[in-house]
């Protein structure tokens, strides 16, 4: 049984559709990652999953029951940590105890608050009685996280939890999220630009663009801007001046996104190794890592600030001597590039 099931969901702000999801589900006990550029609809989707906003159209089912944002019991099962963590104008203790007070859970309140603070690396003795304005940005974000963890939710929705905080706070947030899942079985849905973290922790990663879910799995997205070339093609100028080519482009590709599957990319040390029918871009092998949930070797190649994902054959990596830092060529077929976005060629 799915924990969440979304049917024909649409969300509109000011008459503009900002989210459109025909069908999507989240399984219980999983960690789902959402990534995509700013404005792609990640926060909007999380607000719907956290029952803090109602969709303009469609239905959200939680354990097969249709939901309503003011159905208190449902909202007590899922809690959202918004991107802009807002602390109520009161002490840290009262901020964290607020959700417990709403639930009427007065027993062991002080211990529970202290425990939640310790989960995010804040010492209860020195932080509990501080007013909301006496915290740094990172401490405020961690206190806001503690206010969610203290509730022992079934679902924890994190919107850019590590954005704009120092490295220590970011590490604490990641650890607290992982503990919530692995120790308490909390289902996590995380929106983040930290792709490496998502790939390390998530069961599934979904890409979002222009209010749509583009599908599950690791693939490289090139968000443009795209320029039309000829009848059918388009090119994207990477930051280092190289061009990435794609065929079957939409009529107006400027605002569209293109993606290429890892299986459609091959890795070469020398340009002469590239098959003649393929196109290539030059990059640097920045990371070789074992993908925990699939057991595959994943290579990340940076070309003009775009990070391409490839699953190379471990034997060839070993044989040819690929090492992080090696200059490499990424070969691909422009016809294999897939298009996503507002307009597609019929």
């Amino acid at each position: 049984m799915s924990l969440y099931r979304l049917e024909n969901i649409e969300q509109r702000y000011g008459g503009k559709t900002v989210l459109s999801i025909p069908d999507w589900s989240v399984a219980e006990g999983t960690i789902t990652g959402l990534c995509g550029p700013n404005g792609s609809g990640k926060s909007t989707l999380l607000r719907l999953l956290g029952f803090t906003d109602s969709p303009a159209r469609g239905r959200i089912f939680f354990r097969d029951r249709a939901t309503d944002i003011y159905a208190g019991n449902l909202r007590k099962k899922a809690t959202l940590l918004p991107q802009e963590s807002y602390l109520l104008k009161r002490t840290v203790y009262r901020n964290i105890a607020y959700g417990l007070r709403i639930r009427g859970e007065k027993k062991n309140q002080r211990q529970r608050v202290a425990q939640a603070l310790s989960l995010v690396g804040l010492d209860a003795e020195s932080f509990a009685e501080r007013p909301w304005y006496a915290l740094s940005g990172g401490e405020a974000r961690r206190a806001a996280m503690a206010a969610r963890l203290v509730l022992n939710p079934e679902v924890l929705l994190l919107d850019e939890p590590t954005a704009g905080v120092d490295a220590q706070s970011a590490q604490m947030m990641k650890q607290a999220a992982a503990d919530a899942h692995f120790k308490n079985g909390v289902t996590l849905v995380i929106a983040s630009h930290d792709l490496q973290w998502l790939e390390d922790i998530c069961t599934d990663i979904f890409y979002m663009f222009d209010g749509k879910l583009l599908g599950k799995g690791t693939r490289t997205f090139i968000f443009g801007p795209w320029e039309k070339t000829g009848d059918n093609g388009a090119l994207c100028r990477l930051a280092d001046g190289q061009v990435f080519l794609a065929e079957n482009a939409p009529k107006d590709p400027a605002g569209a996104a293109a993606a290429i599957e890892p299986e459609e990319l091959s890795l070469h040390l020398e340009k002469q190794d590239i098959p003649p029918e393929k196109t290539a871009v030059k990059g640097i092998l920045v990371r070789l890592a074992l993908e925990k949930h699939s057991g595959r070797l994943r290579a990340s190649i940076s070309a003009g600030h775009t990070e391409f994902i490839v699953y190379p054959d471990p034997k060839s990596i070993h044989r040819k001597g690929f090492l992080p830092g090696s200059p490499v060529w990424l070969a691909y077929t422009p016809q294999k590039v897939k298009w996503f976005g507002k307009e597609r060629r019929p």
Binding site: R47, G50, F51, T52, I69, Y70, G72, R75, K76, T79, L80, L81, P82, E84, S85, Y86, L88, K89, Y98, G99, I102, R103, A144, A147, R148, L151
Partner: protein, 228 residues
């Protein structure tokens, strides 16, 4: 200049001696202003919340009307309330003319737009993340409203203080609806107006000092609440 200094000296003497006429006006003022503030806060705070929080068609027009009512002249309110509560008016049978509750009705009308407009502004100016935060922590509709009002408490206290200042210092309503009846509906401001007209500056200054002291006490109370 001498008559002002003499007036001040006499004023302190009247206050320290517990002059009954002076304290009767003070009591009437406190009674009527407390009544009108209780009514205007009870009505104005929920309405201000709704006006500041909800987005509905016609909201901006309502806001414009409320803002316009901020500058309602007290004599006009006095006139309208007089018309309603006089024996020929629709509320004539309630015998509210020349009574303290009658003045309180007029002062409530005076304070209500201030409470509504300033509390709506206070709610509007809260950060957008507050609603999401309260809902994500499990707040229902009632907790959402009280939570938002609590977050806006400093601005709402300032709204109440502004309204209280206007109510305490108005003359028109008290004079027209209350009739400035000695021992009965004479308030501090109507007493000051009358005593000054009679050339009795001492009592006028004494009452003015009491007004200032009340304003100071209210401000000190609000300042204490803000620190809480």
């Amino acid at each position: 200049m001498d008559f002002i200094l003499q007036g001040l000296t006499e004023a302190f003497r009247l206050l320290l001696a517990g002059d009954e006429e002076t304290f009767s006006a003070v009591a009437a003022t406190l009674k009527v202003s407390c009544l009108s503030m209780a009514a205007s806060l009870a009505l104005g705070l929920p309405l201000g919340f709704l006006l500041g929080y909800l987005r509905f068609p016609g909201r901006r027009k309502i806001r414009m009307v409320v803002d316009t009512l901020l500058s309602l002249p007290t004599v006009f309110i006095g006139l309208m309330v007089y018309a309603f509560v006089s024996s020929r008016g629709p509320l004539g049978e309630m015998n509210l003319l020349f009574t303290l509750p009658g003045i309180a009705i007029g002062q409530t009308i005076l304070a209500l737009p201030i409470v509504i407009a300033l509390s709506a502004t206070a709610v509007e100016s809260l950060e957008a993340g507050l609603r999401t935060t309260l809902l994500s922590l499990g707040a229902g509709k009632y907790r959402l409203m009280t939570g938002i009002m609590w977050e806006a408490r400093h601005a709402i206290l300032a709204a109440a203080l502004t309204a209280y200042g206007r109510v305490m210092t108005e003359v028109g309503i008290s004079m027209m609806v209350g009739g400035n009846i000695k021992w009965h509906t004479r308030t501090i401001t109507t007493a000051i107006a009358l005593e000054t007209a009679k050339g009795k500056f001492a009592m006028g200054i004494a009452l003015g000092l009491v007004l200032l002291m009340i304003a100071f006490a209210v401000n000190a109370g609000v300042s204490f609440l803000r620190r809480k």
